[in-house]
Symmetry: C2
Subunit: 159 residues, 2 copies
């Protein structure tokens, strides 16, 4: 009755989940302790670092966050004085979100920590291996792209 051919520990989806969760927790321990940010809030701020004014919708598709999570994260960040919201001139449905000076301060204070963690992780790879690793991730995504049952891939900034 025992199906010895299956081992959860070796199962790709499980391995990815375990690694990803462990890395995420390591990172979130920092922004949560230092700034009281949650993961959606960190993602919103991180995305805002690349664009002055961004709609909720764009954050949703670019930061892999469900719409309600973005809405709530932005609301909390606004309350904390880290971002501002304003209605788009041309299209009144759109909300333009952008970092406040205080938001920039927090972000610039935290980004070095984020990059340091990333560097310490990638430090175990040669630069060729880094490319290989990312290429492999890309290829796994490509498989899912062909799978009609898979969710669409979140938008990815080029460059």
């Amino acid at each position: 009755m025992k199906s010895n051919d299956f081992n959860l520990s070796h199962f790709l989806p499980y391995r990815l989940a375990v690694l990803s969760e462990r890395v995420s927790k390591r990172l979130s321990s920092e922004y949560s302790e230092q700034f009281g940010l949650t993961t959606p809030e960190w993602r919103v701020m991180a995305h805002l670092s690349r664009s002055e004014k961004v709609s909720v919708r764009e954050i949703h598709t670019n930061a892999n966050l469900e719409k309600p999570r973005v809405s709530r994260a932005v609301a909390k960040l606004e309350k904390a004085g880290l971002v501002t919201k304003s209605v788009n001139e041309g299209d009144h449905r759109l909300i333009e979100v952008s970092l406040t000076p205080e938001g920039w301060k927090v972000l610039n204070q935290f980004l070095p920590n984020a990059l340091e963690l990333e560097n310490s992780l990638l430090g175990t790879f040669s630069s060729e291996e880094v490319d290989q690793f990312y290429d492999m991730i890309e290829r796994l995504h490509a498989v899912l792209d062909e799978d009609p049952k898979a969710a669409p891939r979140p938008k990815m900034d080029k460059v």
Copy 2:
């Protein structure tokens, strides 16, 4: 004020989270549709496939699930008739969980789908690349193992 040196899309923790979530969702769409299982429930059953009787504690450390999640998953699986719970003879604090015949039926029905998904993903790699990929994951874990701020690594079945 704009810090153009940071790109969320390229950030390792984010990339891992995105890939892992996408793979997880693809898998869970199957066991949720077909059997009404949640992720903790699937993990519990998958872990049970390798051992006759297992304590809640062991599932907790082996399937990367918090204690309450295991407790709740097991309770729900018991209610559904897929597992049984019994008190350990020697140590009355321990609960022994094991699959029922019905549980085995469900598991054996689902495992081929799980393996098929894994194969379709890994099919994009040569067998050397599969080894490389897993080795790289292992090396990232090794970095975290040395980091006092990182959570301990969940137990991993050898072989």
